[in-house]
Symmetry: C2
Subunit: 723 residues, 2 copies
């Protein structure tokens, strides 16, 4: 198989269990199945993570529910379990087939001198959200009697569980209930083996066989599982067999890859990393409901399984260009959760819509006021992600408008205008007027750089807030023209006529980031340049404990100019057209050595802005950092004592952005795409497909040329190819 | 001697050295001499603390200079030093004669079977600022040969020293220089012994005698010291002898006591504690220059020897009523330092006058941005005393105006109006306008309760700020009437005509503390009632280390309703006339169990407001706590790792206020004093003198009656008595 379509490991070590569980994920937007081995259990972070189904256990953080694992597989020889943790391993390989989206493992064990090989494949069907399928093959080089157990393992990994209580169980299925009253059903079907006996323990539901393996004669079984929840409608059914299921799954993935693959010529490392990044985005795309993608995807319960700005500011461009139906679902999730955002604003004493920082299924905020633990005192630390990181509403408003501009989907305007207006109202009501300076200010906020808390006039936040106000005016003016009835409805819903003048004043008189005349530098917030001017390595040396929090009131970064992630640079990347190239470049150069990149969101932003200032060589390492975050990246597993591991879809999407919007210069010129060649030196060519306003294009970018050719939907071409 | 005029201890233990050094202080406003024993050295916290002379050593905090100790006295027998730390003690007594302001000690040592008694007296002359006098008497019950050394000890106790480098030294004196270039001169003169030989080591300058003591025959010497600095004018001279010096000193103190003593009948403990409190205030009163009283008096270098709001909000009433010349000096210190307050405002980007939180001689702010050490990480913690505790300017403005009202001293108006106007300008420029609420707000401040940092609309601060604005308008209106020339000058100095309308708007539209309709409660700041509602003991139990800081971002009190000290209650005590008795009482009752009294300033405020709501029984324990703070109080010696020990003149003054303004109800009715009987149950009578607008009165308050009788200046009566 083409190396460029594969991610593999041939080593196995206990320390890699968590990392491999993320790296070798499969999923279909409905659920994610972690890249664990067949014999693994809850302690190995096995999880079948469900999108959008949350539960709270006791006083702990509310988090998504992990379904039981239908594919627990245990081989025993002479009563001893065979597995990588207990048995000498002669050969081992674990890999993802990215093209087909199938997880594989093949391990040869030394079982008392006999070489027993366990091979398995599994996938989360791209054709049926509820379907998981597994195929296991056992081979031995000599005659060997084994027992084989295939079971649903009810003992699931939870950060803050347990969430599921069995209501009814059989040897092939179970119905379970969450603490909040939702239900999860799991049904399994096995083919290929007969004569087993039922296994039903409190945690295992399955079948056990005693098998006499003959030298060189494989023994195999296939298992399929259907997982449904009380959120679903309809009843899925088992396909006739594994091969049929695999075919439907493969075809679905072929269509997806046809639309979204990016082919890089001249850089295999970049090609593989980018393709893997796209794979991650494809496995997360929700096709079945108006829900968005959690910050750690479907890799587990980290960050409460919540949706952050990651979707709007990083993932949305990929979907807008390659799968607008998914993009529409992501955006309508925010439209749908407007009532929760209004309620949050009201709770804090503001008008308008203050979106959740950690948004769960209905827009409720999963954020805690105490998100970090002080590693010195062991006490929870008051953090301000929920109540001060107000840029979230502007992120959503901007994403809505830019998606509307790009796609021309009028539903985004009619349904989304209220979101933009309510967000603008929120900023107005959050702001203060400074009489002697004759301006509005946004005080006491947390910008993208979370290491500096409770700052005034954060550049990113203020620019977003101003843009939100402008967009509210623009959107409503347009809505009045194109859909007077919808305009009237939004006016009634938002009280816009009473607010219009205030929003105009706010847009005109908010303090916004302005570059200094000589240096072109923009202060990240008021008095930022008065902080200690020191670079990242010096601040790192001040750490007393490796996992202490850099931010907070007293963290090592707090009183310095060292920042967590792109902030001014992000603002400039988003609004490059409002600033001179000197300003873009000067700020990139200033902030770059002062950025710790403590967030996986940071690297791709630096990559993107670097391409915009004509410095693709500066951009390249940041692109690669973003693209490899889940392959080889050393990401933080803990922040101030809190587990934050998992996959990084925003970084995956940022890598795509860096290539497509960065190196290939894809921009939206009033609804028409444009590309510009600014490839890294070693790359000879990049090609990819994209659609805009219903028209598909193939982009071909070389060192010197950039062309867009209108084409038919490449997914339909694929279908024809297979027909 | 009358017990009521004495403070004494007969026990000696090493752990009491620091506490006794504070408790047995003597002083005369120019200098303070700690209550240490004659044989003590720098390690025992011996200090001769100079008012208003500061020095910075290296990068450490700038602090007041301690002069050399002129009275180091060492007795040796057979080469072994005799002293409480090294020699068996048969009897020991250390006491203050409060009436005469003389420190005494008398100790009988067992010196190899012989009983050797060392007795000494010393005072800081109330008649000559520069003069210190000591008398030492040695007696033995059997013949004994001893050596006696009396020397200037140049090795002084410093927190952040050394500050003094000897320039010239002789056996009787030295001239020394600070790092900042100031000089300190010390001259000594000994009488009563002859035949000694000079001692001049690098740190000791004096005389050593070998003496043959005869049984029961005392041997004595007298020593006088003159201390001057380069800040002084004129050259003091030695008085002829100790007795003459003592007489002048005693007469001065007789005059002071005649004016300021308060006689309580029926409660000896209260009488003694209050008299001791008054003693402390008298020994601190600056007679020689426009300087104010540091927060820890002249007991050392704690809190950088800086002047806080303690003077204006606690000490000033005592001096206004008993020694208006001193009060005038205290106030003119603030008037003199207006330029520094304007410079501070400008440094932080504001208009007007932002007074120093820790004011040193010229009004410069000694405050550090890192005033507390995190006991868990050992790191300095960012604190906000300097940049956010903005009530200081209003404290000064209010004190100026109320002193002016009380004394009728027009100089306070002509010289002080600019202070009030500049303070009002400062508040205006610090404030923001909240358009949808149509009000000004004061955001991101630190109120008197320092445990809650960076709060919005602190009740105390906002009320003070509004009052300051009102007073600016009132003061300028009055000045225009009574002194048009001065008015014109202040207008020119402050640009008042340009500011008047803004100050009017600010006074009319600032958010000010308003009691809730049903509960009458006032929130200490925005969202205060949303904090965890828990009482002091529960919060104390959360401490992981005894000396950790309760405040800061993550201190045990930070996210609770537990506060450091009177805040809303202080505001109500100052502005009781603006609120109903129900409001005063409800808030006293609400905040009292939530107040930790982590500041010695807190107790007297609770006492005062309790008397105002007719609850003298609630007031009494708070009065006693305030009055005994330096006698028996368990005050914090460390806050977050920083030494904060010393005397507590604001608490001493608060005790006086609690009796005179609280239990005796002294108020100012448009320039006329009034008293009201509200004594604690056990007290039968209180009598004291006071002056207002040049007229002296004797107040006599019983359980049921309260009378004021005009009298001649009681100090002059005293003089006549002695003539």
């Amino acid at each position: 198989m083409d190396q460029m379509w594969q991610v593999a490991t041939t080593a196995w070590e206990p320390a890699a269990i968590v990392g491999n569980g993320n790296k070798f994920m499969i999923g279909n937007g409905y659920l994610g199945y972690r890249g664990t081995l067949d014999e693994f259990t809850a302690e190995d972070y096995v999880a079948v993570n469900l999108l959008g189904l949350y539960d709270q256990h006791g006083d702990a953080w509310r988090e998504p529910v992990n379904a039981p694992n239908p594919f627990f597989t245990q081989v025993q020889v002479a009563g001893q379990p065979v597995g990588v943790k207990t048995t000498p391993v002669l050969a081992h390989r674990q890999w993802l087939d990215l093209k087909q989206a199938v997880h594989h493992r093949k391990t040869t064990f030394d079982v008392g001198g006999a070489q027993l090989t366990v091979a398995s494949a599994r996938f989360a069907s791209g054709a049926d959200d509820h379907l998981l399928a597994q195929r296991v093959t056992l081979t031995c080089d000599q005659a060997l009697t084994i027992t084989l157990t295939s079971a649903i393992d009810l003992n699931v990994w939870d950060i803050n569980g347990p969430h599921l209580t069995p209501v009814t169980t059989t040897a092939t299925g179970a119905s379970l209930q969450t603490g909040e009253g939702d239900t999860v059903q799991i049904h399994t079907h096995i083919a290929g083996l007969s004569g087993g006996r039922q296994v039903t323990t409190p945690t295992l539901l399955g079948t056990k066989w005693t098998l006499s393996l003959q030298p060189g004669v494989p023994v195999a079984f296939e298992k399929m599982a259907l997982i449904t929840t009380s959120h679903d409608v309809g009843q899925p059914v088992f396909p006739p067999d594994y091969a049929t299921a695999l075919q439907a799954h493969s075809q679905a993935w072929q269509r997806r890859w046809a639309r979204s693959d990016v082919v890089i010529t001249g850089d295999e490392a970049a090609q593989q990393a980018l393709r893997y990044s796209i794979y991650q985005l494809l496995l997360l795309a929700p096709h079945h409901l108006e829900m968005s993608i959690p910050a750690r995807g479907l890799s587990g319960q980290t960050y409460k399984g919540a949706v952050f700005w990651d979707t709007e500011m990083f993932m949305l461009p990929f979907f807008n260009y390659t799968d607008p139906q998914v993009a529409s679902k992501l955006l309508h999730y925010r439209i749908k959760t407007l009532p929760a955002a209004r309620a949050k604003a009201q709770r804090y004493g503001y008008d308008g819509a203050f979106y959740a920082w950690e948004s769960q299924e209905d827009g409720r905020d999963g954020v805690s006021d105490y998100n970090v633990t002080d590693v010195f005192s062991g006490r929870p630390m008051r953090t301000y992600f929920g109540d001060k990181q107000i840029h979230i509403s502007g992120d959503i408003a901007l994403a809505l408008w830019r998606s509307y501009q790009q796609t021309g989907d009028e539903a985004l305007l009619t349904d989304g205008a209220a979101v933009i207006v309510e967000s603008a109202k929120f900023y107005y009501s959050y702001s203060y007027w400074k009489p002697d300076k004759k301006r509005f200010e946004l005080l006491d906020v947390l910008g993208p750089d979370e290491y500096h808390e409770r700052v005034n006039n954060n550049a990113y936040t203020n620019k977003l807030a101003q843009e939100t106000a402008k967009l509210a005016l623009t959107a409503m003016a347009r809505l009045a023209t194109v859909d007077p009835q919808a305009y009237a409805a939004v006016c009634a819903q938002t009280d816009y006529p009473q607010w219009q003048a205030r929003i105009e004043a706010f847009a005109a008189q908010l303090k916004v980031p302005t570059p200094a005349a000589k240096t072109h530098l923009i202060a990240q917030f008021d008095d930022y340049f008065g902080l200690e001017d020191v670079l990242v390595p010096a601040v790192r040396e001040r750490l007393l404990k490796p996992n202490e929090y850099w931010g907070g009131a007293y963290g090592v970064a707090a009183d310095t100019q060292v920042i967590k992630q792109a902030d001014v640079v992000f603002m400039l990347q988003l609004f490059a057209q409002d600033y001179t190239i000197e300003t873009l470049a000067a700020n990139w150069r200033y902030y770059e050595p002062r950025t710790e990149h403590g967030s996986s969101l940071s690297a791709s932003v630096y990559a993107l802005l670097a391409t915009q200032i004509g410095a693709s060589d500066w951009a390249y390492p940041y692109f690669m950092k973003s693209a490899t975050v889940d392959l080889t990246g050393e990401t933080k597993q803990f922040a101030g004592g809190v587990y934050i591991g998992g996959t990084h879809p925003a970084a995956n999407a940022g890598a795509w952005q860096a290539v497509v919007q960065g190196f290939c210069g894809l921009t939206d010129d009033h609804g028409k795409p444009q590309v510009h060649a600014r490839l890294p030196q070693e790359w000879t060519q990049v090609s990819f497909c994209l659609q805009q306003r219903g028209q598909w294009y193939r982009a071909l970018v070389t060192q010197k040329t950039a062309t867009l050719t209108p084409i038919a939907d490449p997914a339909q071409e694929e279908d024809h190819g297979h027909a």
